[in-house]
């Protein structure tokens, strides 16, 4: 019963008019970037970056937002330690010389109250290039343990790794890399 009351309270807070913008801090348990790249025109290699840090500022009534996030490319996880080590080398992620990759964006597109695309800059290997991330879905819910609003979704976008100087293995491993981003942020008080 207490849980239900808490839920209703959180729901009411979620529906009530609020001071905007709202800041959401990324929830590292529900925020990952996966890459996908075609291998010999045959099958898709996938790898995961976890440990995302950062925040999103959203003003849903003004339909504006800002995101700043960082990740450590050295933490790449493909399920194959030998492949992870190869990816960290200087002709791919160069994670020793460039230990942090960042994404910042201030151009948010909305459909109603929901974010449907974000245009920003990805910085990888010290090189910044524009990146568009499109929302496949976007939503908010009440985090069951924290009883706070969590918003997020699934985003995807494409980049050419050669634009960042990570060109080893082309053309057997494709130039085009698809990013699939799962992200949730917890509303900050």
């Amino acid at each position: 019963m207490k849980a239900l009351a808490l839920c209703l309270l959180a729901w009411a807070a979620h529906r009530a008019p609020r001071a905007e913008p709202v800041i959401y801090r990324l929830d590292p348990e529900h925020s990952f970037v996966w890459f996908e790249v075609l291998h010999f025109g045959t099958s898709t290699l996938r790898g995961r970056f976890g440990g995302l840090q950062g925040y999103v500022e959203l003003d849903r009534s003004a339909q504006s937002g800002f995101v700043s996030l960082q990740l450590k490319p050295a933490g790449v996880d493909t399920g194959l330690p030998a492949f992870d080590a190869r990816l960290r080398e200087s002709d791919l992620l160069a994670s020793e010389a460039w230990p942090v990759a960042t994404f910042t964006a201030s151009r948010f597109h909305f459909e109603g109250a929901d974010v449907n695309a974000v245009h920003g800059q990805l910085t990888l290997r010290g090189i910044s290039q524009p990146l568009e991330l499109r929302a496949l879905r976007f939503g908010c819910h009440v985090h069951p343990q924290l009883q706070r609003e969590a918003c997020g979704g699934d985003f995807e976008g494409e980049l050419n790794r050669a634009d960042f100087g990570a060109s080893f293995g082309m053309p057997f491993v494709a130039n085009q890399v698809r990013l699939r981003v799962q992200v949730e942020g917890i509303r900050q008080p």
């Binding site: 025109g41 979704g153 799962q182």
Partner: protein, 188 residues
């Protein structure tokens, strides 16, 4: 005598059915990733890292059989606590059922490319039908191995409750789970 042997060999060769070629699953290019919705917000993904299997494949006869098994203790979501929960009796119950096994023996083709593989998936001691649809399929000569490699990307959506994996259904954890399958297999 020599002629007789030659004739016998020829006879054997003619009598033998066009045999399927065996391919061994390449574990470095074979992964299953699951996707399940999380509170209607984002997608939770996890990967199964340890597997083994073989494929019998006859491109001319357009037939094949694949057998692959996954060690469910090697699940990897990037969140250690979630991995443990998934291994528990709430989900895969790996103490009792350490492996999942897919056997596919109904290959569909378009030209010489595989378009889908139908078969059965056994998990939690239950076997149910599953059809994997190909998004990509191709064979190539791997320049390092100097051998033919065939593979592709397959996907399917299943309902976990079919295997009795019901945890959280009542509180809104989805029943539908999407599987993304990367597979490559090396000609033996």
């Amino acid at each position: 005598m020599r002629h007789l042997l030659a004739a016998a060999t020829l006879g054997l060769a003619l009598a033998a059915p066009a045999s399927a070629t065996t391919y061994a699953i390449d574990p470095t290019h074979t992964f299953v990733t699951y996707e399940i919705g999380h509170f209607g917000t984002s997608t939770n993904r996890g990967r199964f890292d340890k597997k083994e299997g073989t494929v019998q494949f006859d491109r001319a006869a357009k037939t094949g059989k694949v057998e692959i098994s996954f060690d469910l203790n090697a699940i990897s979501t990037g969140v250690a606590m979630l991995d443990k929960h998934l291994q528990s009796a709430d989900f895969f119950d790996t103490a009792k059922h350490p492996n999942a096994r897919f056997v596919g023996d109904k290959f569909s083709f378009s030209g010489d490319k595989v378009t889908q593989v139908a078969g059965t998936l056994t998990m939690l001691g239950k076997t149910a039908p599953v059809t994997l649809k190909a998004n990509n399929f191709n064979c190539y000569i791997n320049p390092m191995l100097r051998r033919e490699v065939c593979g592709g990307d397959f996907q399917t959506t299943l309902k976990r409750s079919q295997w009795g994996m019901n945890w959280g259904l009542e509180s809104g954890v989805p029943d539908e789970v999407r599987l993304l399958i990367q597979v490559e297999a090396i000609k033996q």
